[in-house]
Structures are given as structure tokens and as C-alpha cells.
């Protein structure tokens, strides 16, 4: 936990400096006739971010915040494994949207999670995994006219568009 606390604080401090530098692409001072420049608001806030990070780092050295006193691991084996399996699954689902679209990747994700992580029966798994895309299609594509990405599966949907849209 202690190591995670300092690593995070240093990374966030670096990100704050990046934001300061990035804000400074626009004027950060006072422009005559125009008021504060466009970069001023984010620049000074990024300075505040950096300041709080330094404060967090000082607290770490003085061991005055709970995470800087804790000797427990930031994540134990169970947490790391779960995080990898679940986070990996979600990442893969979003990645697959680019290729298979929502209607390909959504059922795959549900099957992966419910069947392989949850160890539920195939009947439960397939009932949810196959009904979810149908609900999504009729709710978003048909009712709301928000067209979900289809990736390379787009041609398969052309007949459905003809009927429902």
C-alpha cells in the first residue's frame, strides 16, 4: 500500500506538470481588453493539482495518511487475478466493438463472464447473451435511432434496417 501511495502521487504530479505545460499552449496571463487568457483557468488548476500531490507526498514521508502507514499489499493475489480477468474482459469487449461491432462483442463478453467467470449453466448464459443484443437493437437502433457500431458485421444488418428503420 505504501509503495502504491507514493507511486500514484508521483505519477499524478507528473500528469499535473504535463497539464500545466499543455495549458500554457494558450495564453495563461492577462490579455488587455480580453480578460484572462484561454489557458489560465486550467493552468492554475493544474498548479493546484501539483500542489496537492506535493502535499500527499509530504504526508507520505511523515506517514500521516492511512495508506502511507498500511503494510497491507495494495492488491492481494485474489484482487489482482479478478482485476485481470474482469478488466481484461471489458477491455477485450470494447476492442472487439471496432471489429465485430456491439452485436458481435456483447454476446461474446456475456458468455465469457457468465459461463467462464460465473460458472453458470449454458442455458442461463445463452438466454442472457442472446436476448441482450436483441433488446439493445430495438431500444437504441430502432426506438432511439442511435445506431450502434456494427464493425465488419454491418452488411448482415442491412435487411433489418429495411424492415425497422
Amino acid at each position: 500500500m505504501r509503495r502504491a501511495e507514493i507511486t500514484t502521487a508521483v505519477l499524478l504530479a507528473a500528469f499535473s506538470i504535463y497539464l500545466m505545460w499543455k495549458s500554457a499552449e494558450l495564453p495563461i496571463g492577462w490579455l488587455p481588453e480580453e480578460g484572462p487568457g484561454g489557458g489560465a483557468f486550467p493552468f492554475w488548476l493544474a498548479v493546484i493539482m501539483l500542489g496537492s500531490c506535493i502535499w500527499i507526498i509530504v504526508n507520505w514521508f511523515r506517514r500521516s495518511s492511512p495508506p502511507s502507514q498500511s503494510s497491507e499489499p495494495f492488491m492481494d493475489n485474489y484482487a489482482v487475478k479478478r482485476f485481470a480477468l474482469v478488466g481484461g474482459g471489458v477491455t477485450a469487449m470494447i476492442g472487439l466493438i471496432h471489429i465485430l461491432g456491439v452485436f458481435g462483442s456483447l454476446p461474446l463478453f456475456l458468455i465469457y463472464y457468465i459461463r467462464f467467470l460465473g460458472r453458470h449453466s449454458w442455458a442461463t448464459t445463452l438466454a442472457i447473451a442472446l436476448s441482450a443484443p436483441v433488446v439493445v437493437f430495438f431500444f437504441f437502433d430502432v426506438a432511439l435511432r442511435i445506431i450502434m457500431p456494427k464493425g465488419y458485421l454491418e452488411p448482415l444488418f442491412l435487411p433489418l434496417y429495411d424492415i425497422f428503420l
Partner: protein, 505 residues
Amino acid sequence: MEILQHLFDGFLIAFQPLNIGLVVLGVIVGLFIGAMPGLGSVNGVAILVPMTFLVPPTSAIIFLAAIYYGAMYGGAISSIMLGIPGASTAVATTFDGRPLALKGLADKALVAAAVASFFGGTLSVILFTGFAPPLAAVALSFGDQEIFALMLLAFATFVGLSGDDIPKTIFSIAIGLVLSTVGFDIISGEPRLVLFEISGFLSQINFLVLAIGIYGIGEMLWTIEVSRGNSMMSKAVITVDRMLANMKEVMGTWKIATTSSLLGYFVGILPAAGATPGSLMAYGVAKMTHKNGENFGKGEVAGVVAPEAANNAASTGSMLPMLTLGIPGSPTTAILLGAMVIWGITPGPTLFIDEPELVWGLTASLYVANFFALLANIFLIPVFLWVLRMPFTILAPVIFALSIIGGYAATQRLHDVWLMLVFGVVGYLLRKLDYPLAPAVLAIVLGPIAEQKLRQSLIISDGDLTTFVTRPISGTITVIAIFLILMPVFKMIRDRLRRGTDSAA
């Protein structure tokens, strides 16, 4: 009497078939969301905002408010039956609700929670109806300085009152505000903070991307790690006779219910406080003042009534500043406020003039929502008990999928879905290190308005910062805000002085 006329018109709107249907649906969805451990009102509202694009804004906000209400009722169900708070707002309900359930009196606790929630909700909506119009009328005269001062006050309450780590709270506010400036400069229109030169950052970061990331994806990751073991569900015996006897006993606690509702309502108005601290405070006060105070924690009905009345009252309280001032009183109302902006409605005091239908339809729907939540809560208890058995390994993937698809629907850019994942994962990791995340969500919603008001104020005053202090209203608010920000420093000095005298003695 003008208010009653408006309220009457509001009821006509709330009783339109579409709206009444949405109230009932919202309350039931809310009860379910509140009852599921790991999901609270803020998660439900964040994930479901994209679904409301189907109906007009007034109906949409009525639906979302009903979810908010239902979730406050529902949180008690799992607190009592599983001993796990269904939402952070129901933490205090476990203290006495769980012991009651273990004694075989789960039905008494459930009835107490439902009736107390109804009492707190209704009393606070009456207060809301009386307070909101005059407050909005005063707020109409506010200039840029006053509005900026109010926002400063909202952020200051987090620093001074929330009790979280102070530098981490300040960091959370600042990063939320910085993220709200990504895209382009609101005055000159030049591209600004195009992070890592990724073209997706040429437009603003929609607040929903952050809200769903944190409250959908991040929250699920968190719950998966925390809820490792399986929990034991208590049994509830429900008969008409017992129900009536329970009702009678609950009625006897009306004094506690009244003080708790008032306390919850006023705590709820403050942005950093809200239903969670409100219910904990009400529990504390009830324990101190009740004649059986020493029995609290062992299964005292009043110990269920107090937090449940307070958390519902607080959720109404948090709507007051949202509607009248445009400053949300809780993370959930921050999301409602952001949603209004998406629907093309300008929040703030002008709402009462420009959108009376929305304001009064919403107010009236809160009365209706309370009524239906009470009915649903009592008659659907068996259904919720059955639903609570739903394994988390089915709920979690469904929530992930809803978050991703809803997040895409909100902006229709895959860039935002990836960003949502990043916010979810980073939010989860930061939460493990005690970084509070609610201030960041509030900040990204308020950011664009805060920056605009700040810059306009400075242009008017020609760069003179004293403009915030010299105007009477903004001056008072600014001074209170500065005091709140400095409060931790005072505390530090006091502690040090005390330590100094201790060591000297």
C-alpha cells in the same frame, strides 16, 4: 397560494399517463438498484441517463428522480436482510436493522424502513415546495460573481466538511475542473488541452463519460474485489396481523422521524454532505436523545427509522440547490444537472420562469413517487427478496454492458468508451488509496459554468479579484467558502496547540 396553484398544475403533469408510468417504473427500478449491494442511486442514475433520450426532458427527469427516491427506499432491504448496505446511504440502517433481522423480526425492520422513508420523503418534499420558489426568486438577482462564489462554496464544503483526506479532495476537485476544460477555449474557441494530440480530445469530455466510468465500471471493479464471500440472507415472516402491529409500533417513533427528516433535509442541501452523512448523523442524534438510546445497535426500531427518514429527506434536500441555484447537492443531482444540460435546459433560478412545467411536474412527481415507493416497498418485498438472490456474476456483466453501451449512446464516439474505461480503472485504483471521487464528478459538471462565470466576473471588474468580496451576497458566500477551506488548517493548529500543552504538562 400561488405555490399551491403551481403545485396543482404540477400534479396535472405528473399524472399524465406517460409520467405516472415512468414514476412507477422508476421507483421499481430504483428499489432494485438500491437493494443490490454495490449499486446506489448515483450508479443507477449515471448508467440510465442515456436511456432517457427516448422521452421528453420533463418525463426523463421525473423518471430519474423516481429512481433516486426508489434507491433510497431500496438500500434498506439488503441492509436488513443481508447485513450489507445496499448503498452507502443505508450504512446506518444495518446498525439496528440487521440485529432485528437476526432476532427473526426482519418484517418489523422492513416496515419501519419503508414507513420512515415515506415520512422523511414526504415531509422534505413539503419543505421543498415551500422553500424552493422564494430561494429561486432571490437567486434570480445573482450576477456572475454570486454564482461563482456559490460554486466555490460547493467545492469548499468538500474540503471543510467531507472528512476525506484534504490534499486528495483538493486534487479530485482540481482534476475534475481541468478535465472540463478539455476541447476548446469557451471564449476564443481555440483548441485547448488536446491531450497527447489525440483528435478525440478536440471536443469536450462529456460528464457522463466520467460519471459512468466511475460509477459503472469503477464501482463494479470495486464491488467484485470487496464482496468476496457469500452472505447469509435472513428470513422474513410477513403476515397481515404482524404487519399491522409493526405499523403501530413504527407510528410511535414519529418524533425521531421528524427530527431525523429535518436533519437529513438540511444536511442534504450541502453539496459535500448528503444522504450518507445525513443518515449517520440522524442515527447518532436519535441514539443520544431516545429513551432507549443504550439499546441502539441491538435491534431498536427507532434505530432503523432515524437513518431511513434522514436519507430520503436528504435526497430531496439535495434537489433544492440543484433546481434553484444550479448547484447540485449530491453526486446524483450533479448527474441530473448534467443531464439537463444535454437535454438543452439551462439549470439555475431561471428554470422556475422558463421551465415551470419541468420544475412543478418534478416536484409533484416527488409526492407521487413517495407514495408508490411505499406501496411497492411493502407489497413487493417478497419479489425483492427473491431478486437479492441473483448472483453477482450475472449482475456485474450486465452492468458492464449497460455502462459501455449507454456510454456509447451518450456521445456516439468509441473514443469516449475507451476514455470511460480509463476513468473506471483509474478511479478504482485511486479509490483504493482513499481519493474521494464524488468531487471530481461534481467538478466536471460545474466546470464549464464556473470558468465562464469567473472569467466574466474578472472582465467586468477589469481583473480585480476583490469583486468577489465587495458585493454583499457574493462577499458573504466567499467568506464562508474561504473559512471552510481553511477549517482543516485551524483544526491542525488546534491539535498542535493541544499536543503542545499536553507535552508541557
